[in-house]
C-alpha cells in the first residue's frame, strides 16, 4: 500500500476542474515561486501552521513542548521552529482554540479513497471527480496512480495539477490514469524563471513537449499572471508562441495573482516576498483575450 503526505483535502471545490471535485493537496515541491499561495505546500516535512486570529495567548503550546521548539515572535506569533519540532502534536492537542494545525498527514491509498468516496454521488451527478494538487503532486506518482486506478473502477475522473518540475518517469507513471492535466508555465526565459522560482525551466518545457505528443487526456496550460514578474507582453508572447507550437493543448488559462496566502506565511514565521501588492480581479485580465486573439489558442481567465 502506497502512502501520500497530504496537507489539505478540500471538498466541493468548484475552481479546479469540471463539476464538483475534491482537491487533494500533496506536500512538497521542487520550486519556490515567490508568489506561492500555499507556502505550507513547499517543504516535504510536516510543519505546524499557526493562526493568530484564533490564538488567545494562553501559551500552553510553549509549556507542553518538550523540545523547546516554539517561540513567540512579535510580528508572527507562536511559531514552531521546524528544525527542533519532532511532530508530536502535543501543542496542537493542547491548543483549545485550534490556533495550531499540523500541515501534513500520511494517508494510505485505502484511507484516502475512503475519504474521497464520501462525495462520490456529487462527482457522478456533476461529472466531477478528484483533483491532485500540491505542492507538486507528481512526487507521489505511484500513490496517485494507485488511487486513480481505484477511482476509475468507481467511474470517478482524476485530474492532476502540476508545475512540471519533475522527473519524466513520474509523469509517465500516471499519465494514462489521469483524465485531465493542468500544467503550469511561469516564464519562458530560464534565467528569469530561476530568479522567480529557484529553478531553470528546461525540464518543465521538455516535459510539456513530451506530454503534448504522448498524452491522450485533456491537457490545459496555465499561466499565473504575476505583476512585475511575467506580466509583460513580451513574456506572454514568448509563452503563447511556445504553446501554439505544441499539439493537443485544449486551452490556456491565465490565473490572476492573489495574496490570499499571506496569513500562512506569517503562520509559518516566514516573510511574504510579494510585499503589499494587491490581488488582481478576474476582470483586470480580460483584456488579454483581445490582446492575444491572433494566436490559435483558446484563452481563458479564471
Amino acid at each position: 500500500m502506497k502512502k501520500g503526505r497530504i496537507f489539505n483535502i478540500e471538498r466541493f471545490a468548484t475552481e479546479d476542474g469540471p463539476g464538483i471535485r475534491t482537491v487533494v493537496f500533496l506536500k512538497g515541491c521542487g520550486l519556490r515561486c515567490k508568489w506561492c499561495a500555499n507556502p505550507e505546500s513547499q517543504s516535504f516535512e510536516k510543519e505546524v501552521l499557526f493562526n493568530s486570529r484564533r490564538c488567545i495567548g494562553c501559551e500552553r503550546c510553549i509549556k507542553v513542548c518538550g523540545e523547546n521548539a516554539i517561540r513567540y515572535i512579535e510580528e508572527y506569533g507562536y511559531i514552531t521552529n521546524p528544525d527542533l519540532c519532532i511532530h508530536c502534536e502535543k501543542c496542537i492537542d493542547n491548543c483549545y482554540t485550534n490556533a495550531r494545525t499540523m500541515m501534513g498527514k500520511e494517508y494510505t491509498t485505502e484511507e484516502l479513497i475512503e475519504e474521497l468516496l464520501r462525495d462520490k454521488e456529487y462527482y457522478h451527478m456533476s461529472g466531477g471527480g478528484i483533483t491532485f494538487s500540491g505542492g507538486e503532486p507528481l512526487f507521489y506518482s505511484s500513490f496517485i496512480r494507485e488511487c486513480a486506478e481505484i477511482l476509475k473502477e468507481h467511474n470517478i475522473t482524476t485530474l492532476i495539477e502540476t508545475c512540471g518540475h519533475i522527473d519524466i518517469d513520474n509523469i509517465k507513471e500516471v499519465q494514462e490514469y489521469s483524465d485531465y492535466i493542468f500544467y503550469d508555465i511561469k516564464h519562458m526565459d530560464s534565467k528569469i524563471h530561476k530568479k522567480l522560482t529557484g529553478r531553470g525551466n528546461e525540464l518543465i518545457l521538455s516535459n510539456l513537449t513530451w506530454l503534448s505528443q504522448n498524452y491522450k487526456g485533456n491537457l490545459s496550460v496555465r499561466y499565473p499572471y504575476i505583476p512585475g514578474c511575467n506580466d509583460d507582453i513580451e513574456s506572454i508572447d514568448d509563452f503563447l508562441n511556445f504553446v501554439e507550437g505544441l499539439e493537443n493543448i485544449q486551452e490556456v488559462v491565465f490565473l490572476p495573482y492573489h495574496r490570499l496566502g499571506l496569513p500562512k506565511y506569517s503562520g509559518l514565521g516566514r516573510k511574504y516576498e510579494m510585499g503589499d501588492m494587491e490581488s488582481l480581479k478576474k476582470k483586470q485580465l480580460e483584456h488579454l483575450k483581445v490582446l492575444f486573439d491572433d494566436y490559435n489558442i483558446n484563452i481563458k481567465i479564471q
Partner: protein, 803 residues
C-alpha cells in the same frame, strides 16, 4: 416589472404597518348582541358584520383588490383569543408597539381607545387566559420555564390551512353554499348530534354569503370610483374590476384575471375570519394554469399582462398583516404571515408539472424581491434542470432565500408512512414555512406547543430541575454526575423528553377542547373536504387528514452536546463529568478551575465533533435524538380528533423554528455543545452557527443521514452562498447538482442565502440604505432591517460555506 407594478411595490415599502381597530370593534359589538346562541352561529354572524361594515379600500392602479384593514399592511385585532398583552403593550410594557426592537406597529390614540374599550367585554373570556386557567399546574410551570409554549395557537387563532382554491375557481362559492344547504336539508334533527351539525352548516352558509357580500361591496367601491374618474383607462379598469368582483368568488372564474382575484379574495377572507397564520396558497401554478392557457389560446391576454397580474397578486399578499404580542413576535420576527406558494412537482400522470404559470411565479419572485408569498419549488426526478437553473438565478437576484427547494420524494415517503392515499400524496404542498399539507383536505398542517429540545437536556443534566426557576419537573433515575457512560445520560434524556412530550400532547388536547367551545370558523372549514359532509368544523374533525405537532428548536444543538460529552468526557477524557457540570453551572465563567471555564468552553467548541461536517460521531447523535422524538410522535400519541374521521391523527415532527431558536435559546443556560447562557440554539436542521468546516457537500451529507421520514412538518436547512459562487451557469449547475444529490438522499428542503457578510453589516449600520434587503431567517424570508439586532447578528454569524 412595468411602471404600474413598480409604483405599487414602492407604495408597499412607503407604508408603515399600523394597528386597525375596525374588526375588533365590529366583531365585539356583534358578539355582545349574540350571547347565548351557539358559537358557530355567533362567530359567523360577527364575521358577516365585519365584512359588511369595515371600510373598503381600492387603491390607485390596483389590479387585484380587497383589504384586510383600513390601511394596507395594517393589522386587525382579534381580542377573543387574547388581550392582556394589548393592555400591557399599549402601556409600553415591555415596549410600545411603535418602539419595539423588531416588528414595529404604529397607531393613533383613537385606535388605542377603541381597542381598549372593546377589550372590556373580553375580560375572563379569551381563549388564551382560559387555556392557562384550565391547564394543569405542571404544564403552566413547563410553559413558564420555556420548555413548551403554546402561545401561537391559543393567543391567536389556528392557522396553517390551505383551502380548496381549485374547487372554488371551478365551481364558485355558489357550489359550496348549495352543498351546505343540501346537507342541512338531509339532516334528521331527531338524531343525536345533528343539531350541532345544523348550526355549523348554517354558519358555513352565512360565512360564504358574508364573503360574497364583501366582494360586492368592493365592486360597488370600484363603480363609485369609476363615476368620478377622469382617466379613461383607469375608469375602464375599475368597471372591469367591479364586474370581476361581482362574478367571483360566487361563480366559477371566467378568465385568468378573475381566477387570480378569486384566489386573493379567499386568501384575504380566511385571514379575516380568524388570525391564525400560515394560510397558504398550495399549488398555485397548477390550479391557475387552465385559465392562463385558455386566455392565451383565445387571445384574451398576453404573457406580459398575465405576469403583471401575478406580480400585482404578490404585492397584495404583502398587505396582509398580523399583530402578535411581543413575546409571541420573538418566535416569528419579520412581519411574517407565512403565505407559501408552491410551483412545480408532478402531475397525476407522473409528469413534470412545470407550466407557464410556474415560470411567471419565478419571474415575479425575482423581479419583486418581496418576502411574501414564500415561493417554493417542488423538485422531483423529472423536474427540468432548466427550470431549476432559472429558479436558482431568481435566488441570486432575490437575495432573500427565495425560491426555496423542496423534495417530492422525501415528503411523499413521509406522507405514505402516515397513510395518506397515493393520489393525494403527490398533491402535497408546503404550508407556512415548510409543513406538508394536502390542499383542501388537511386541517392544520402544524398546530400544538413548541418544544425546546435543548432545554430538556439542560433540565436532564440538572437531575430534573430547571436551574432558572428551581422547579423540579421529574427526578432523573440516576444522579447525572454518577453516570458512567454517555448512554446512561442518553437514557435519562429520553425519559425527560418523554415527560415533556407527554405534556405537549396533553396541552394540545386541552387547547383543542377550548377551540371546539369557542372558535368555530365555519367559512374556512366549508372550503376543506369533508367538513360539509360531516357537518363538522376543522377543529371538530371535519377534514380528511389531520396530524398535530408544534415546532421544535435545538435538536442539532442537543446532538452536538451529546457528541461533545461522549468525545471530550468519556472517550478522550480531557475533562471529567464533574468539571463539565460545574462549567455549565457557572456559564463557563469560573476562572479558578483547571482548565478554566473559558478553556472548557473552547475545548467543547473546537475539539468535539459537530453536526454538519459529515462526521458520524456527531451526526449519529442527531439521528438518535430525531428517531426517538419522531417515532414517538408518530406511533405513541393520538391527537384529539382521533376516531372522529380524519387520518392519521398522530403527532408529527417539525423543525422549522422560524426565530424560535433565538427566543427559546434565551431560556437555556450553558450547554455541552459550548453554547453560553441565553445564546440561540441551532436553526432547523442547519448546523449550529460556526460549526460547518468541511464545505457544502459535507453539510448535505450530514443532513442526508437524518430520518426525514418523521418530518411531515418539515425541517429547515439553510445554506448561505457567496454571491460570487453563483455567477456563471456552470457554477449554478454545480449547486443544482448539489441539491439533487441531497434530494436523492431524502433531504427534504434547502434554501440559500445569497449575500456576503459585508452587505449585512452595512445594513445594520445604515438600515435606511437597505429598505428592501431581504434575508431568509428560517423557512421564510423577511426584510433584514425589520429584524431585531440580535436576529441580524444570528444571520451574519451563520457560517458562510466556501462554495
Amino acid at each position: 416589472m412595468n411602471e404600474r407594478i413598480m409604483g405599487l411595490r414602492k407604495n408597499l415599502f412607503d407604508i408603515k404597518p399600523r394597528i386597525c381597530a375596525e374588526r375588533c370593534t365590529i366583531f365585539t359589538e356583534s358578539m355582545k348582541e349574540s350571547e347565548g346562541l351557539p358559537i358557530a352561529i355567533r362567530r359567523a354572524n360577527a364575521f358577516y358584520e365585519v365584512l359588511d361594515k369595515m371600510t373598503i379600500n381600492v387603491s390607485k392602479d390596483e389590479l387585484i383588490v380587497g383589504n384586510q384593514a383600513r390601511w394596507p399592511k395594517a393589522s386587525p385585532i382579534y381580542p377573543e383569543y387574547s388581550y392582556e398583552w394589548l393592555i400591557e403593550e399599549f402601556d409600553g410594557n415591555p415596549y410600545y408597539f411603535d418602539e419595539r426592537p423588531g416588528d414595529k406597529f404604529y397607531y393613533d390614540e383613537e385606535t388605542k381607545e377603541s381597542i381598549l374599550s372593546s377589550i372590556e367585554y373580553w375580560k375572563n373570556k379569551s381563549l388564551y387566559e382560559n387555556l392557562r386557567k384550565t391547564l394543569p399546574e405542571e404544564i403552566n410551570a413547563a410553559w413558564d420555564a420555556g420548555v413548551i409554549d403554546d402561545t401561537w395557537v391559543s393567543a391567536c387563532g389556528l392557522g396553517n390551512i390551505i383551502v380548496d382554491y381549485d374547487l372554488v375557481l371551478k365551481k364558485g362559492l355558489r357550489d359550496v353554499i348549495a352543498r351546505a344547504e343540501k346537507r342541512m336539508s338531509e339532516l334528521d334533527l331527531k338524531e343525536p348530534g345533528n343539531v350541532r351539525k345544523k348550526w355549523f352548516l348554517e354558519a358555513a352558509i352565512k360565512g360564504n354569503k358574508a364573503v360574497v357580500n364583501f366582494s360586492n361591496r368592493i365592486a360597488e367601491e370600484c363603480e363609485n370610483q369609476a363615476k368620478d374618474m377622469e382617466d379613461e383607462k383607469r375608469k375602464k379598469e375599475l368597471l372591469k374590476l367591479a364586474d370581476i368582483c361581482r362574478n367571483v368568488p360566487l361563480n366559477p372564474a371566467r378568465n385568468f384575471h378573475e381566477a387570480v382575484q378569486c384566489v386573493y379574495m379567499l386568501l384575504l377572507t380566511v385571514h379575516l375570519e380568524s388570525n391564525g397564520h400560515a394560510i397558504s396558497l398550495g399549488r398555485f401554478d397548477q390550479y391557475l394554469y387552465p385559465f392562463y392557457k385558455k386566455d392565451i389560446e383565445e387571445n384574451r391576454i398576453t404573457r406580459e399582462e398575465a405576469l403583471e397580474l401575478v406580480e400585482a397578486f404578490f404585492i397584495k399578499c404583502n398587505e396582509i398583516n398580523k399583530l402578535r404580542s411581543w413575546g409571541d413576535s420573538e418566535f416569528f420576527i419579520g412581519y411574517q404571515m407565512f403565505i407559501n406558494l408552491t410551483v412545480g412537482g408532478q402531475t397525476q400522470n407522473g409528469e413534470d408539472a412545470i407550466n407557464e404559470v410556474s415560470h411567471l411565479c419565478i419571474e415575479a419572485c425575482e423581479n419583486l424581491r418581496l418576502f411574501t408569498p414564500s415561493v417554493s419549488v417542488k423538485w422531483f426526478e423529472k423536474t427540468d434542470d432548466k427550470f431549476m437553473l432559472k429558479a436558482l438565478e431568481a435566488v441570486t437576484k432575490h437575495q432573500g432565500g427565495q425560491p426555496a427547494f423542496y423534495n417530492d420524494k422525501a415528503f411523499i415517503r413521509t406522507l405514505d408512512n402516515m397513510g395518506i392515499p397515493k393520489e393525494d400524496q403527490i398533491e402535497w404542498a408546503p404550508d407556512g414555512c415548510i409543513e406538508a399539507s394536502i390542499p383542501g383536505k388537511w386541517d392544520f398542517a402544524a398546530k400544538g406547543p413548541w418544544l425546546n429540545v435543548e432545554k430538556v437536556l439542560e433540565i436532564t443534566l440538572n437531575n430534573g430541575v430547571d436551574p432558572n426557576t428551581g422547579r423540579l419537573f421529574k427526578k432523573t433515575n440516576r444522579n447525572i454526575a454518577d453516570c458512567e457512560s454517555i448512554d446512561q445520560i442518553f437514557e435519562e434524556y429520553k425519559e425527560m423528553l418523554k415527560y415533556f412530550m407527554d405534556l405537549q400532547v396533553i396541552t394540545e388536547h386541552i387547547n383543542d377542547e377550548l377551540h371546539v367551545l369557542n372558535d368555530i370558523n365555519a367559512y374556512r372549514s366549508s372550503l376543506v373536504e369533508d367538513c360539509i359532509g360531516r357537518g363538522l368544523d376543522l377543529v371538530e374533525g371535519g377534514a380528511l387528514y389531520s396530524a398535530d405537532g408544534g415546532p421544535t428548536a435545538g435538536t442539532i444543538s442537543s446532538g452536538d452536546a451529546f457528541a461533545a460529552m461522549e468525545d471530550i468526557v468519556f472517550d478522550k477524557k480531557l475533562i471529567n463529568l464533574d468539571q463539565l457540570l460545574h462549567a455549565l453551572e457557572t456559564n463557563f465563567e469560573d476562572l479558578t478551575t483547571t482548565p478554566t471555564g473559558e478553556e472548557i468552553r473552547a475545548i467543547l467548541l473546537n475539539k468535539a465533533p459537530k453536526f454538519g461536517n459529515d462526521d458520524d460521531k456527531a451526526d449519529s447523535w442527531v439521528v438518535k435524538i430525531q428517531d426517538f422524538i419522531g417515532s414517538r410522535y408518530r406511533y405513541e400519541y393520538k391527537s384529539s380528533k382521533y376516531g372522529k374521521g380524519p387520518i392519521p391523527c398522530c403527532y408529527s415532527y417539525s423543525q422549522s423554528p422560524v426565530t424560535g431558536n433565538i427566543a427559546f435559546g434565551k431560556m437555556i443556560g450553558a450547554t455541552p455543545d459550548g453554547r453560553k447562557n441565553g445564546d440561540p440554539v441551532n436553526n432547523g436542521i442547519s448546523p449550529a452557527n460556526g460549526s460547518e468546516k468541511n464545505g457544502a457537500t459535507a453539510a448535505c451529507n450530514s443532513v442526508g443521514k437524518l430520518p426525514s421520514i418523521w418530518f411531515q412538518k418539515g425541517a429547515i436547512f439553510n445554506m448561505r452562498l457567496a454571491e460570487s459562487m453563483l455567477e456563471t451557469e456552470a457554477q449554478r449547475k454545480r449547486v443544482i447538482d448539489l441539491i439533487k444529490v441531497l434530494f436523492e438522499n431524502y433531504g427534504q428542503h434547502i434554501q440559500f442565502n445569497v449575500v456576503d457578510g459585508k452587505t449585512y453589516k452595512d445594513a445594520m449600520k445604515n438600515p435606511e440604505k437597505y429598505n428592501d434587503l431581504m434575508v431568509r431567517v428560517s423557512g421564510y424570508s423577511a426584510l433584514f432591517t425589520a429584524l431585531s439586532p440580535e436576529v441580524q447578528m444570528d444571520v451574519i454569524n451563520r457560517a458562510e460555506l466556501e462554495l
